[in-house]
Symmetry: C2
């Protein structure tokens, strides 16, 4: 099975207003709630792809209950309860413009005991997991080396790891040698301190990641793994909702790792699935017909052998 | 006792962000929740003034529970449960500018049975009430003549009524002959179809209100009651948070009606309390020292006798 971890689960609320005008009062025309957090969105894609997925992480209070109640029947809820109330994100969509303005709450402070309990439960799940996905921000109170600790625990129990994070939690996770890290362009620039993606990817490998898959928007994926660099490029520029594209990419990576798919084929699927996710209005979903259509036309180009001195 | 009615109770949430920029993602620095809705704010002021107050209205779901849990020990909670989840309002405050952008959810749809149950419970409360305050918007499902019906029910049970509403619910309430209506300038213009406040106030009396007290911001109050027109003007232009000024005014009117205070004295207190509320950061509070300071310097001017043909 695949396990996705969402330490800062969220109830994603969308407000539709006529037009967002700062400093004014707005009548909200429509309110829509959805269980969210990157790990939950990855799990939705995995369920859609027919992969049994366990979702865990930290959730609490009435908002936590709403998140867990909204997971649907296909995801196994293994969230660990925390004392505070889980966070919301509020996305304000202007009906006139179709554009989105987002407000992300920080999340409840997690006491040390709740974090210790989560680590225990995680170890139990990791024993049966082929792949563990660690996605998104950390709530206050969870230590910055949380993903590093979870990568080590997963490795001890024989599970592969994918880390989709940024900042200090990503930097520390690298030291624990995760199987895959998937930064986007901004995260790569911020962590590797360079504007050149290929240099950045090499630096993240040198810092400890076995494979780095950077998602560069409509430029596709740039991947470097043991001795091999590749680029996978979508067939066209896709217009739509880019919110869930990264989560769809991570889902494809998780399936590929779980099934031992060779990298070129795996990247082809990851690009096709990401592009199909852009065509879907909600994060965690994808346009199945578009995925099938895109797959054969994704260009996968080897960038030649790599001697970057990364730890083997 | 005084009863305040909040049919569309809200959990007022405030997000502090660095600066609100449309179409961008914002990290919310602080999240603050408070039980709200105009009737709840009026009741807070009444409690602060030492008046036993019962709050009723419609609330439901986890958000309703949070609203009721946040009423504090001084208010008597007589809310009626509805099946849906109560609404939130989200106010985004830019720390840089100190300005507020507000999003008001519409509220849960109220089924006919819940409305009928509320009407029954209201009649029981009205029997022991001296004054009933009907404030704010109606949730979906509650009929537009809700305030008209409640005014009639209150009158049958011997309670005086104050209506602070707008649009069709206010227009219909007038036909039930409420004791006082308190429109602000915008509501007066919208309901009386005139830009002249004095003409507007007369029209609302002709439509059925016994007394009309229009709150005109820093121009103070304009009141017309049986045979008497008055203006009450604050001593100075008060800078601050105007959100709760109207609710403080309504609280003063409720106390005045309950205690049979003569109108000139009552209006003096209403202006002083409203101005003191502007100096308080939260709706439902007021600056007690400022209230005492303002009271003797409010100017109350008679506008002469009135023969407007209003029903006696």
């Amino acid at each position: 099975m695949i396990v996705t971890v969402t330490l800062n689960a969220a109830l994603d609320t969308t407000y539709t207003v006529d037009e967002l005008v700062p400093h004014y009062s707005h009548r909200v025309r429509q309110v829509h709630h959805r269980a969210g957090g990157k790990g939950v969105n990855v799990a939705r894609v995995l369920a859609e792809l027919g992969h049994p997925t366990v979702v865990t992480g930290l959730a609490g209070g009435p908002t936590g209950a709403a998140i867990r109640g909204g997971l649907g029947s296909r995801l196994v809820d293994a969230f660990v309860e925390v004392p505070g109330d889980s966070r919301r994100t509020v996305t304000v969509v202007s009906a006139a413009v179709g554009d989105a303005t987002v407000f992300n709450e920080p999340g409840p402070a997690v006491p040390a005991e709740a974090w210790a309990l989560f680590m225990e439960r995680f170890a139990v799940l990791a024993r049966d997991a082929s792949v563990v996905v660690l996605s998104g921000s950390l709530p206050p109170g969870v230590p910055d080396d949380a993903y590093a600790e979870l990568v080590r625990s997963a490795a001890q129990h024989g599970a592969s790891t994918i880390v989709d994070a940024q900042g200090e939690p990503l930097r520390l996770a690298l030291t624990a040698r995760p199987d895959v890290v998937k930064p986007n362009a901004t995260e790569l620039r911020g962590t590797a301190c360079t504007d050149d993606p290929l240099t950045g990817v090499h630096r993240l490998r040198q810092a400890g990641a076995r494979t780095v898959v950077a998602s560069l928007g409509d430029k596709g994926l740039l991947a470097v793994t043991d001795g091999l660099a590749m680029r996978a490029v979508p067939p066209e520029r896709i217009a739509g909702n880019p919110t869930g594209a990264g989560d769809a990419c991570v889902a494809a990576l998780a399936v590929g790792l779980a099934e031992g798919v060779p990298w070129p084929e795996l990247l082809r699927e990851a690009v096709a699935l990401s592009a199909a996710a852009v065509l879907h209005p909600l994060a965690g979903g994808f346009d199945a017909a578009a995925r099938t259509r895109f797959r054969p036309v994704v260009r996968v180009e080897p960038l030649g052998p790599v001697c970057d001195g990364a730890p083997a």
